[in-house]
């Protein structure tokens, strides 16, 4: 459980636009261990998806560019790989599931054909792990694994014949067909209904158990995080502001933003009539506020918060916070 699979260090991904440079990801450090589910939470535009796309080197350039940092995957820096090497890694070692399966599946090809494609490319042509004849059997097997009923018939169907939840499951089948060691799930259940969401989350948990895949789960839904993850990283305006084990984060959140976020969720059985809110709005990523980016909205803001960008401070086992309140040398440079 303690072996590191992926380590992101000081990742900075900027988008160079006419109206200025958008610092979408501005120094992100992440670590995913083997066989764990790491949650990446944050509100719209905080840089969660850009982080995921940076890991896969799928940032559109121009205008986007990874300007700094390291992405160490299985001991090697992905940012130093050639695009041909990256192509081989995508799908076999690292896969991604997106929010909207409707736009990811090609409407003119059958589901079976689309699931067979990565298997043929990676496992038959590149790695010679199986012969082309075995592919159809493997496709049916994958559909069975993601619990699609009558997989033998379903392989010949087109995406429009599948419901939303089934499409998402077909996407998962496609993405795990080459046994990736890391699966990035970018809002995998945002577009589906609650009962279907429960089925998909259950399936992902099951796959993690069976195949030992590590999962980076990107979501804005704190409920999903609570149910799925081992550890959580909270992102705000391009930075990770707090990182902790799931129980620690929900029981004793330290960063004022994490606290506010948790307090803003309606609680079951709570008698309180009012929810906590965060004053102000999410800052611009082109001209973020100086110092701590959260200080204009923070109820505990001090003078130093306006001037100095806080460093990540370790305050417990696996618990990191980026806040001056917990800095070891308050008021001084760290």
């Amino acid at each position: 459980m303690s072996e590191t699979l992926l380590k992101v260090q000081g990742l900075k991904t900027y988008f160079f636009l006419e109206r200025g440079t958008v610092k979408a990801v501005d120094g992100v450090d992440l670590e995913i261990k083997k066989g764990e589910i790491l949650g990446l939470v944050g509100e719209t535009g905080c840089g969660k998806s850009v982080t995921a796309m940076s890991i896969l080197r799928l940032i559109q350039s121009p205008p986007g560019k990874i300007v700094e940092g390291k992405i160490i995957f299985e001991g090697k820096d992905l940012l130093k790989k050639s695009s041909e090497e990256m192509r081989k890694i995508r799908g076999t070692k690292i896969s991604i599931i997106f929010q909207d399966p409707h736009t990811c599946l090609d409407p003119v090809f059958t589901i079976g054909y689309q699931i067979a494609e990565p298997i043929e490319l990676h496992q038959v042509i590149e790695q010679h792990l199986m012969s082309a004849k075995e592919v159809p059997k493997k496709v049916v097997e994958m559909l069975k694994l993601v619990r699609i009923p009558d997989p033998e018939q379903r392989v010949a169907e087109y995406p429009h014949q599948f419901s939303g939840g089934m499409k998402q499951r077909a996407m998962i089948a496609m993405m795990i067909s080459c046994n990736p060691s890391l699966l990035i799930a970018d809002e995998p259940t945002t577009a589906v209904d609650v009962t279907i969401q429960a089925q998909i989350l259950d399936l992902m948990r099951d796959l993690k158990r069976k195949l030992g895949t590590s999962i980076l789960l990107i979501t804005h839904n704190l409920g999903v995080v609570a149910e799925m993850c081992d550890r959580v990283a909270v992102m705000y305006a391009g930075n990770i502001v707090e990182q902790a084990e799931i129980m620690t984060l929900f029981k004793s959140p330290k960063h004022p933003y994490t606290r506010a976020l948790l307090a803003a969720v309606p609680k079951v059985g709570s008698k309180k009539k009012e929810l906590e809110t965060i004053p102000g709005t999410v800052p611009s990523l082109i001209t973020p506020p100086p110092g701590c980016k959260f200080h204009p909205r923070c109820p505990y803001a001090m003078d130093i918060c306006k001037k100095e960008f806080p460093q990540m401070t370790k305050i417990g086992k696996e618990h990191l916070v980026r806040c001056h309140l917990y800095s070891k040398s308050k008021g001084g440079a760290t």
Partner: protein, 367 residues
């Protein structure tokens, strides 16, 4: 030319005749007694939509969007309507404000039968109703300034003019936390949360009695959602609104509502007070909904099972109880007979063959 036209017309009417048309609106009962306390009451409401399948389609199909729904909303309460996509919750909202006409059934608003109203009467009555939609940006005209957006309803309903109108607008702006300098801006200049506040403002200028909130915060982030929900709560207690809150998010509905109704594939399956529903949900569908809704608390252990299968289509809904193909307790009777939506005491209504009283105990389901 005329011959072809005539042929076409006759062909059309012929296809209309051959299509199995659902029953027409039954004659309205004149002496329907609606308790004064019920601001909105709905009886046997049905809405079937025709599917358009091109000119070669032989058979017309009907989408059973809302199929025999009965409920009432008390004055000053927040009535929550939960369900998954396509269960007909939004259609119920649209039927109440008269944006679409029901296939059958009656809708009473403050004692008036809306299904008897003509367009003009409906337009007048709509002053007393407001709707807030999920995507505020698509409900605004992008070429109108905020001032125009807010003043239009006042002009249309001839509530005030000139200075008096400006007074109302400024008052409403303050109420939703916006500044007078925002009035000359356009909708796209605002964030999602601010746009939703403008949408709330547009409802407030008419000072309605009844507001439909159709997924008011689904497009918003958690922190903004909290702000909007708080604002809606405050406005309700200040102006005495009655809300119909439509949402797929059980946590939000539970936070806001007094009573909650659950819909599944065009039918209402359960209705109860919010505490009763949380503690004593009896319909198997409601029970599984409560189980699967993710809750931001990692210490909570999941009770019950995740239901299998997909949400069925409303074009050919399952026979009998519509939940039977997914229900862990289904018996042959569920496939044959449709369960009645009946009261079991304490304002608790359930549509299930097996639930006869509030003390009904389900055995723990096996996977």
């Amino acid at each position: 030319m005329t011959a072809t036209l005539a042929l076409l017309v006759s062909g059309l009417s012929f296809s209309k005749l051959t299509a199995k048309r659902p029953k027409e609106r039954p004659s309205v009962k004149k002496n329907a007694k609606i308790p004064k306390e019920h601001l909105v009451e709905i009886r046997g409401l049905k809405k079937y939509f025709e599917t358009k399948k091109g000119i070669f389609a032989r058979e017309k199909k009907w989408v059973h969007a809302v199929d025999d729904v009965n409920f009432y909303i008390r004055r000053g309460e927040v009535f929550g309507l939960v369900g998954e996509s396509g269960c007909g919750k939004t259609t119920v909202g649209k039927l109440i404000v008269g944006l679409i006409r029901p296939t059958a059934g009656e809708i009473y608003f403050d004692g008036h039968n809306l299904t008897e109203f003509d367009k003009e009467e409906m337009r007048k009555l709509r002053r007393r109703m407001g709707v807030i939609y999920q995507h505020p940006q698509s409900s605004f005209n992008p070429r109108m300034t905020i001032h125009t957006i807010l003043s239009r309803p006042i002009e249309i309903h001839k509530i005030a003019k000139g200075e008096k109108m400006e007074e109302i607008i400024l008052k409403v702006l303050k109420e939703v936390g916006l500044e007078p300098q925002h009035l000359d801006r356009y909708p796209h200049e605002f964030s999602g949360g601010q746009q939703q506040r403008i949408a709330i403002g547009r409802v407030l200028v008419l000072n309605p009695d009844f507001v439909i909130l159709d997924e008011p915060t689904s497009a918003l982030d958690v922190s903004v959602q909290a702000y909007i929900l708080n604002m809606l709560g405050k406005l309700q207690s200040k102006f005495g609104f009655t809300y119909l809150l439509i949402s797929h998010d059980l946590n939000i509905v539970e936070h806001m509502s007094d009573r909650i109704a659950v819909m599944y594939v065009g039918k209402m399956v359960e209705l109860a007070d919010k505490t009763e529903l949380r503690k004593n949900a009896l319909h198997p569908y409601t029970r599984s909904l409560l189980t699967v809704a993710p809750i931001a608390d990692p210490t909570r252990k999941r009770k019950g099972v995740i239901i299998k299968g997909e949400v069925p289509s409303t074009i050919n809904p399952p026979s009998g109880c519509r939940f039977h193909p997914r229900c862990p307790y289904a018996k042959p009777v569920c496939k044959e007979k449709e369960p009645a939506f009946k009261g079991i005491g304490g304002g608790h209504y359930v549509a299930c063959h097996f639930v006869k009283s509030r003390t009904h105990k389900w055995p723990s389901p096996r996977k």
